[in-house]
């Protein structure tokens, strides 16, 4: 199989659409069911919110490395209503604080969820 020479992808953070989308149909209508499980409104795909959130931030971090997040930013990125408990679990398993007092985080996932 022959491809053209690789061209770097033109990624502009300005038109980047945030939010969790379905892995299968790429639709943005994703809703949390019962706190920790999410379901796609369009195709019905079901996945754990924690896993899909981790994948989202892992990919985002790959494109925009070294980005720091406030709690509000994390909620903005997810664009999904999750319980406080699930949000805390997402933050604790995927982020570390930059400073002890300030609630500013950077992406650093734990080995296990």
């Amino acid at each position: 199989m022959m491809l053209k020479a690789r061209v770097p992808l033109s990624i502009n953070a300005g038109n980047f659409r945030r939010g969790i989308k379905c892995r299968r149909c790429h639709a943005f209508g994703w809703q949390a069911i019962g706190g920790s499980i999410g379901k796609c409104d369009v195709c019905g795909q079901v996945e754990a919110v924690q896993i899909i959130a981790r994948d989202y931030f892992a990919q985002f971090d790959r494109l925009f490395p070294g980005e720091s997040y406030k709690r509000r930013d994390i909620i903005d990125h997810l664009q999904i209503s999750v319980s406080e408990y699930t949000l805390q679990k997402i933050i604790r398993s995927n982020f570390r604080k930059l400073d002890r007092k300030e609630r500013i985080y950077y992406f650093s996932p734990c080995a296990r969820l």
């Binding site: 199989m1 022959m2 639709a27 943005f28």
Partner: protein, 185 residues
């Protein structure tokens, strides 16, 4: 276990989030097709014992300034096997210039490039001792509708023959015991 190429992961992540140019859309679709074909190949590969093999997925090499993909590289103690996967459909023939053409006489695949890929790998896969493992390159046709008319070529491997071919690799990859002495009676 096979991993998706990073570039495809990025494309999947960005799809619907950013507008894609025509080139990007074409590349994304090509990568998705390739991913499907590699998954199909992996399905066959899972049926054999791969303990004596090392499998590398999706190697890209530059041949005459164009990227060429070797989808699967299987390394055994005795041989290197390179597989390039295609899903060509319909009747094809090889013209006198060693180019695979479709029934409408359109050039589809330059088989001379296989020689270049082979040479490139031969120059790089240098074994430490005097024994240089042979390198075998195959174009795997993952479409039952593919037919080759006229001159045959050992370069091609059809999907229906792939399980037997992989089984043969499995048998040949078995590590023979050195200094084996028959049991004394």
């Amino acid at each position: 276990m096979r991993e998706k190429p990073d570039r495809l992961k990025v494309y999947e992540f960005l799809y619907n989030r950013l507008p894609f140019s025509d080139d990007e859309t074409n590349e994304y679709e090509a990568m998705q097709r390739m991913e499907k074909l590699e998954a199909q190949f992996e399905h066959h590969l899972m049926k054999i014992k791969t303990t004596n093999m090392r499998i590398h997925w999706h190697a890209e090499v530059l041949v005459d300034r164009k990227a060429e993909i070797v989808n699967v590289l299987i390394v055994t103690d005795y041989c290197y096997y390179l597989f390039i996967i295609h899903e060509l459909e319909g009747e094809h023939y090889i013209n006198p210039f060693n180019i695979l053409c479709s029934s409408s006489h359109e050039a589809v695949l330059d088989l001379n490039r296989s020689r270049r890929i082979f040479e490139l790998f031969r120059d790089q896969l240098i074994d430490a001792d005097t024994y240089q493992r042979p390198i075998i390159l195959k174009y795997v046709m993952m479409n039952d509708g593919f037919q080759l008319k006229g001159k045959r070529s050992d370069l091609f491997l059809e999907e229906r023959n792939l399980p037997y071919y992989l089984k043969a690799i499995e048998h040949s990859a078995v590590i023979r015991k050195k200094n084996h002495r028959p049991a004394s009676t």
